[in-house]
């Protein structure tokens, strides 16, 4: 279920976590495995070494190892994952039936820790349901569907509806709407009238297996898993309820699965509400606010301006956007990691042609690191604002 979301997966001991982000940085997924998830978990080497063992592996290569899920279940007895930093290899060894051993030596690159900054506590609404309920709901939507809107309706009902572009002709579009009663959910604490729209299409990729779970045998998905459907398939198979946390349009929606040995998060950007463009920002400069209009959608400069609350000018028409703090890695990190730092610092990404709020990915501050840095200095103020 990680597959469709990303281009790169990063492995970060001591707790094994697999994280991925998609190329437009509007989606982030993370699977956190406690050592108990594994039969044997050994992190060797003195603590400083552990810090260095953050690596990123091409998802395609990693998944290539687990390519054939049905046969994996039948033939693989044990899977051994070793990290060999000196040889720059991530070794995945599958011990199969008949004494056959498959050893994959995957190349990896060291990288900065990848972490989307989000907080489920700050979400106004949350829903919890067995994955089956949501999976069955999503199945009604066509495969080519790009966005779906989740809304809290009257009587505590929750609706799922495909999102229709404003420009689309009413006569030529098909709208599918599905209502779920409150009692289908294990928990539903939603702000009345709330709704969010998130993207399914971005995550479509042709077949990829979900990670095998030692806890319960996975039944192979009948169709290529599509995140969040990929996540739903995984959740169904592991028999875990899925929790959805969301806030207002524009703020990310967070899907989580949790159990004693595993924690999974999928964070997706949501479409911001065009009507709310007219609302003024809140006093502290951090707002739930409107994405800039399309003129600014790809304008990095204006985002940077917005990041600095002090440069916000009343009525300039350049609303401050984002809601997540940007963290800059400590430049004392080794030179080889500079490239990754650069990459992580340029945190803004917007799915093109969409009014999505982007998620900010910051490198997590290492202890003693700096806060918001002067690298966000505005070089040129945007001149398109209205006065």
């Amino acid at each position: 279920s990680l597959c469709p979301v990303h281009s790169v997966m990063s492995v970060c001991p001591p707790q094994l976590s697999l994280r991925a982000v998609n190329s437009s940085r509007s989606a982030f997924a993370s699977f956190l495995f406690a050592p108990l998830f594994f039969q044997l978990y050994e992190a060797s080497g003195p603590p400083p070494h552990l810090e260095l063992c953050r690596c990123k592996v091409l998802m395609k290569s990693f998944l290539g190892v687990f390519r054939s899920l049905p046969s994996l279940e039948k033939t693989v007895g044990k899977c051994l994952i070793l990290l060999k930093p000196r040889a720059s290899r991530l070794v995945v060894q599958l011990h199969c039936k008949y004494g056959v051993t498959k050893t994959h030596n995957l190349t990896f690159q060291e990288c900065e820790r990848l972490q989307a900054v989000f907080d489920t506590q700050r979400c106004a609404s949350s829903l919890c349901a067995p994955a089956r309920v949501l999976a069955e709901a999503v199945v009604h939507f066509p495969q080519t569907l790009a966005e779906v809107t989740l809304a809290a309706g009257p009587g505590g009902k929750i609706s799922l509806r495909n999102h229709v572009e404003d420009e689309a002709e009413p006569g030529k579009t098909m709208v599918t709407e599905l209502w779920l009663a409150e009692d289908e959910f294990q928990m539903a604490a939603v702000a009345p009238g709330s709704r969010i729209t998130f993207c399914l299409k971005e995550f479509r990729v042709s077949s990829c297996p979900a990670l095998p779970s030692p806890m319960s045998p996975l039944s192979p998905p009948p169709q290529p898993p599509l995140c969040p459907q990929g996540l739903l398939t995984f959740a169904e198979a592991s028999n875990l309820p899925l929790t959805v946390h969301y806030d207002v349009p524009g703020r990310p929606v967070i899907f989580t699965l949790e159990d004693a040995v595993l924690e999974v998060h999928l964070v997706l950007a949501t479409l911001s509400d065009p009507e709310s463009n007219l609302q003024p920002p809140t006093a502290n400069g951090v707002s739930h606010l409107p994405a800039p209009s399309d003129d600014f959608a790809d304008d990095l400069e204006s985002y940077m301006i917005a990041m600095e609350p002090s440069t916000y000018e009343e009525g300039s028409g350049v609303p401050p956007i984002p809601t997540f703090p940007l963290c800059i890695p400590d430049p004392a990190e080794s030179d080889t990691e500079e490239e990754e730092e650069e990459e992580e610092r340029a945190v803004l990404g917007t799915p093109p042609h969409k009014k999505f709020r982007s998620l900010f990915f910051g490198s997590v501050l290492t202890p003693g690191g700096r806060g918001l840095a002067p690298t966000l200095e505005v070089l040129a103020e945007d001149s398109d604002g209205e006065y």
């Binding site: 091409l58 991530l90 008949y98 498959k102 994959h104 030596n105």
Partner: protein
């Protein structure tokens, strides 16, 4: 090649005539060697051999013994011709490739000799199709000179264990490296692709290992693109014998049981890509 001189009144003017109740017995085997458009057919009283070659490095042979046919008649010592294998397969499967157990396609194959086309009569459910496929001068074929006395290492594996491995071979690797040794890792298939290297080890005491005769540690590399077509033969087979000789030439022999339980063979011969005598990690 002289035209066959048939004595008058002997009936059949064909140098080769054969009948097969189920054309799939032939078509499935031919598909296992179909990696080039052209093939050379070689018929003797023992049966039919179809050879396909590529790049002067690889040769595949499909053997269909005379006993598999309901009727198999060869009027000369040997009959050889070159034919377009793609066309031949299309004709053999003209009624479709899906396996309907109740209605096999019956085949009658006739060849008058040099310069004549190969005639195929195919019948299914009362519908008859007649195909005439032009034949050509047979090519000079490679002789790998692979005889038992030259064999250095040999293993026989149950195909079940290799099928998936071959189907999932990392095709971004240019070579497939085969290591055979009396010591660990015994029998190892390795690829070196974009993601890194992958090794598949089969221990000598594995249940899959029907026979293990390795006298010397040998590591040889073969172009993966040349060997990949052998996956088809592997998929059909129940057992495979893997042999290498002193020069690193590879022989893969697949034992295939058809729907009626009859045994046929397909073999692949391949030249090594480089000469490596020491084991390489």
């Amino acid at each position: 090649m002289p035209l066959s001189a048939r004595p008058p009144g002997s009936g059949e003017p064909y140098v080769l005539s054969a009948s097969l109740d189920n054309a799939r017995h032939l078509s499935s085997l031919l598909r296992a060697v179909h990696f080039q458009d052209h093939a050379t057919c070689f018929a003797t009283v023992n049966g039919l051999k179809v050879t396909v070659e590529d790049a002067k490095c690889i040769q595949a042979n499909a053997f269909i013994q005379a006993e598999v046919f309901q009727e198999f008649d060869v009027q000369e010592d040997s009959v050889t011709f070159r034919i377009n294998l793609s066309v031949l397969l299309d004709c053999l499967t003209i009624f479709g490739t899906s396996a309907l157990p109740g209605t096999p396609t019956a085949l009658r194959m006739c060849y008058r000799g040099y310069s004549y086309p190969l005639m195929l009569f195919l019948e299914e459910g009362g519908v008859v199709t007649v195909c005439k496929i032009n034949t050509q001068e047979p090519d000079e074929l490679l002789d790998f000179d692979f005889c038992s006395t030259n064999v250095v290492n040999k293993v026989i594996l149950q195909s079940e264990g290799l099928r998936e491995a071959f189907a999932e071979l990392d095709m971004t690797s240019e070579v497939l490296q085969i290591t055979m040794s009396p010591d660990k890792p015994y029998f190892r298939l390795s690829t070196f692709g974009n993601a890194g290297s992958a090794h598949l080890d089969y221990p000598r005491d594995s249940d899959l290992m029907e026979a293990f005769h390795c006298n010397q540690t040998q590591t040889n590399r073969y172009k993966i693109s040349l060997l990949k077509p052998s996956t088809k033969a592997l998929a059909l087979s129940c057992k495979v014998s893997i042999r290498t000789d002193a020069q690193g030439f590879l022989s893969l022999q697949y034992m295939i049981r058809n729907e009626d339980g009859q045994i046929c063979f397909v073999e692949y011969y391949c030249c090594p890509d480089e000469d490596i005598t020491d084991a390489e990690l």
